[in-house]
Symmetry: C2
Subunit: 214 residues, 2 copies
Amino acid sequence: MKLFGYWRSSATYRVRIALALKGLDYDYHPVNLLKGEQREPAYLEKNPAGLVPALETDDGAIVVQSLAIMEFLEDAYPRPSILPENLAARGHARAIAATLACEAQPFMNLRMQTYLKKTLELDNGAMTAWLDQWPGGAMRAAEKMAAAYGGDYCIGNTPTIADCCLVPQMFAAKRFGIDTTDMPRLTDIYERCMKLPAFEKARPENQPDAAKGN
Amino acid sequence: MKLFGYWRSSATYRVRIALALKGLDYDYHPVNLLKGEQREPAYLEKNPAGLVPALETDDGAIVVQSLAIMEFLEDAYPRPSILPENLAARGHARAIAATLACEAQPFMNLRMQTYLKKTLELDNGAMTAWLDQWPGGAMRAAEKMAAAYGGDYCIGNTPTIADCCLVPQMFAAKRFGIDTTDMPRLTDIYERCMKLPAFEKARPENQPDAAKGN
């Protein structure tokens, strides 16, 4: 398999965690978002949306969108699973994943932050308020959900697709200064995850395209 | 089962389509977003995020987030399926669903439009530009994906989770004036879907809480 991605992309980071949790090998193909490589014709042939990540399977099929890629990995390589067995618990894990992937990260990724600053000319105060309202609000919702479900991780005592989404979201929140002091449960889960080898392997700083000194 | 939702909520509409495609009966519990009923304590007990939809199963479990609810229905009631059989095609269906659910709808729902108009004071021109850039951009990406995959529907010749997301997105795009003339494939699929009884049943106007004259 080939994974096309960018070291600091939250969506790529999610997929790296899922691949590592499943112990799957892959070739990593960096797509430098700062240089606009995601809009080059060769990459647009892989993913016409011009976004990372994209997963190319050994028989040449391409799957995009991090949630879809993680579900594909679960379908194709069911063990170890990144979903609980119980049907309602599977729903809970996917609900936290969707809360973070649909309602937190899209409001703070590189292209959105550029639009807010350059096109809408938001000043620092308005940017902070935006980040607190949108990604912050979604994270506080995830905090309540994870607190209600209980366990060492977001759902139960094994990392799931929810944790694959949580860790990159916490990483991005720290980077952009979202206040997480009212998220003790997410903070606790994040710290527990970061001690696991799969999460260590997937860290942005440990990727070949990581910029030094950032 | 009980479905808590709002007639004009895109996310609720997706789940209604999935329920109808699977031929599942349910009790519909309207949550009036305009009156703020999603923030009332009784509802927050069901869904602490204060969003619709929420699905309550017969044994009292609650699943939230439309993508998670549709996957739950697929797990619990596999036939008829709203996912293709082929693993890559399942990935493609989920990728279009995620593109619309994560990158189109969150940028144009009621709470976001209120924030853009009231808090950021965007004028009509800036609102139009926003809608074209964000939900419009995600829809154009979905157009390319659906064109690449082919078939009568988003993926192949049977409605899938992708079509469950597409139809509400097209409905919202028409309502808020997003230009869809450069989306012939999505328009064609939308019109084909609207002829099916399951999609007819799920239409916002056909729900008991639909406001008359809107």
